[in-house]
């Protein structure tokens, strides 16, 4: 397999109450699909994806976490290693929105202010069931000084913008977090995934 120059590598941890759509957001981003039959995440799950931006290529490591309250005690070590925390809530579930404050605190406890936090209001497709307005989400994000976006993993709405937004906020190429050589073949991409990127990754082996 072709070795390439080190990619900038970033860890993103996905937090939020159960069933707000953390796994769905990740799956939409990874494979551009939505499934109603996800298994509940237990503990932590891991996926990685190479993202091709206009001026650079970054490798994102996505850490999906279990939403149930008691699993919180398992998560700090993942937060500690992450440069980005995506805190999701369900716009049709007010409690999940209120609980995002706890998640922000959890991240601040581990990382202080040295972290990018994005508040994500998911499930905007549930128009009739909405319990949290976009203004409320926006206000909360301002209050905490974090980024904000609304998405629908089901409808495929705003998922790419979410990740572009994150990528744009990441520290630049000059501060590479990765010191190790990496293979370009992304073993985590299963069949049925984003095939164009897949081929690109397998074929592209420039040794710069």
């Amino acid at each position: 397999m072709a070795k390439v120059s080190p990619l900038a590598k970033y860890k993103l941890v996905f937090l939020g109450d159960q069933s707000v759509g953390k796994t769905s957001i990740i799956t939409r981003f990874m494979y551009d699909k939505f499934d109603t039959t996800y298994q509940a995440t237990i503990g932590i799950d891991f996926l990685s994806k190479t993202m091709y931006l206009e001026d650079r290529t970054v490798r994102l490591q996505l850490w999906d976490t279990a939403g149930q309250e008691r699993f919180r005690s398992l998560i700090p070590s993942y937060i500690r290693d992450s440069s980005v925390a995506v805190i999701a809530y369900d716009v049709a579930n007010r409690q999940s929105f209120l609980n995002t404050s706890k998640w922000v605190e959890e991240v601040r406890t581990e990382r202080g202010s040295d972290v990018i936090i994005v508040l994500v209001g998911n499930k905007t497709d549930l128009v009739d069931k909405r319990q949290v307005s976009i203004e409320e989400g926006d206000n909360k994000a301002r209050e905490f000084g974090i980024m904000f976006i609304e998405t629908s993993a089901k409808a495929g709405f705003n998922i790419k913008p979410l990740f572009r937004k994150i990528a744009a906020a990441l520290p630049g190429m000059e501060t590479l977090s990765s010191t190790k050589q990496e293979d370009m073949v992304d073993v985590n991409l299963k069949s049925g995934g984003n095939s164009s990127q897949n081929t690109e990754q397998q074929g592209g082996g420039c040794a710069c």
Binding site: S19, T37, Q39, A40, Q68, R70, S73, T109
Partner: protein, 396 residues
């Protein structure tokens, strides 16, 4: 179907066509994906090799069935509950030492269970050997039904979480993912959440209870198996509010890995890989979410007879089986991929259990208990510290 020679030819052909894919035969043929149903109705995606292995496993299960039935016929039904019954292998003239024959029976049973309990006998054997039958016998006959009646219509955080998880528990399974299956699973989980309010409901138990339902056939027996599992077989507090028991097991496992597979352990350490990344799910779901169903149940066969240390044996074996590949990894993601791929394709239970018990070697429950004690203090300190940090942040 194919002889070993033709298999190799095919492999070579594939290699010629796809020079990119030069891993194992397994990986090369992985492109030919077929969907099939396993012994317990789960749809599995695998390649041709996997189908062949699964067919072999079916045949082995049949053979094991014959062995067990022969034993029932010669030693009497429930022979495994009466270690005093002289073993036939000793012959009629040799029943001088009942103690000795009991010992022989225990050894026979242990070996036999490691080779697998036939699916038809599982409900009966599990129920007796795990202690579930005894547990059930200490309460009135109507306990389970009374409990169900008492909690009907109750709405608690546990019931809400259970309702969230029902459709997310083995989705697509022909029985579990039906109205009937959801209702049965719900009753078992809800009933248990009221039996032990410290545990209530913890994610992960949904997978365990679902598989118990498939094996035990009746809800009530599945309920008692869940009870004996949480209350007697596993260590305490694995599923309670801060999962402290689970934290302890992870740390003990980390130490065991360093002892039993030092090369892997130091490589993982160098890459900053924490074993809890994969082991949390293994221990909380008792492998039901990672291994194919029959393989999981073979692990549970031994778990119910030999106790919680079996989980360490199996977890260590999964690492051990991938030693060479793991030592070549450069990043955390690759480690996880290797382990996930291997576990999902472990269709041959004997392959796993042979490594787990023969290669990993002996570990006494006593040694593990000592290690647990040692880690317990550390875990409690750390969890407490975390709580205090969170609280102080709240006060600001």
């Amino acid at each position: 179907m194919f002889g070993p020679q033709s298999k190799r030819d095919i492999a070579l052909e594939w290699q010629a066509q796809f020079p990119m894919l030069r891993q194992s035969i397994h990986a090369r043929r992985a492109n030919l994906v077929v969907k099939f149903q396993d012994l317990y109705g789960f749809t599995v995606e695998g390649n041709v090799d996997d189908v062949n292995v699964l067919n072999e496993v079916r045949e082995k299960v049949r053979q094991q069935g014959r062995v067990w039935w022969a034993l029932e016929a010669s030693k009497g039904a429930n022979w495994y509950l009466k270690p005093q019954v002289p073993s036939i292998s000793e012959g009629i003239g040799l029943k001088s030492s009942l103690k000795f024959s009991g010992f022989v029976n225990a050894i026979t049973l242990k070996k036999l269970i490691r080779k697998g309990i036939p699916p038809v006998l599982r409900p009966k054997v599990w129920f007796s050997l795990s202690g579930a039958a005894k547990k059930k016998s200490t309460v009135p006959e109507s306990y389970y039904n009374d409990l169900l009646k008492a909690v009907e219509g109750m709405d608690t955080p546990a019931t809400r979480q259970i309702d969230h998880d029902l459709p997310r528990t083995f989705p697509g399974h022909p029985w579990l993912d039906t109205v009937e299956g959801h209702a049965a699973l719900r009753r078992v989980l809800v009933a248990y959440s009221f039996r032990d309010s410290d545990v209530g409901y913890c994610q992960g138990l949904n997978y365990v209870a679902a598989l118990l339902l498939l094996v035990m056939k009746t809800e009530e027996d599945a309920f008692w198996m869940l009870a004996v599992l949480l209350e007697n077989v596993l260590v305490n507090d694995c599923y309670t509010n801060n999962l402290s028991g689970c934290h302890v097991e992870q740390r003990v496992f980390k130490d065991l890995l360093a002892k039993k597979c030092p090369r892997i352990a130091s490589h993982l350490e160098a890459l900053g890989f924490n074993v809890s990344l994969v082991a949390t799910e293994w221990f909380l779901c008792l492998f039901s979410k990672s291994l194919p169903s029959e393989t999981t149940l073979r692990v549970w066969d031994v778990l119910f007879y030999e106790g919680a240390k079996v989980l360490f044996h199996v977890a260590l074996a999964i690492f051990k089986m991938n030693e060479n590949e793991l030592l070549l990894t450069h990043q955390v993601g690759d480690i996880i991929s290797i382990l996930q791929r291997t576990t999902h394709h472990l269709f041959d239970p004997d392959e796993l259990l042979t490594v787990a018990f023969d290669e990993i070697g002996f570990m006494t429950t006593n040694t593990i208990s000592k290690q647990r004690k040692k880690q317990e203090t550390e875990v409690m300190k750390e969890l407490d510290l975390r709580l205090r940090r969170l609280n102080s942040l709240n006060e600001k």
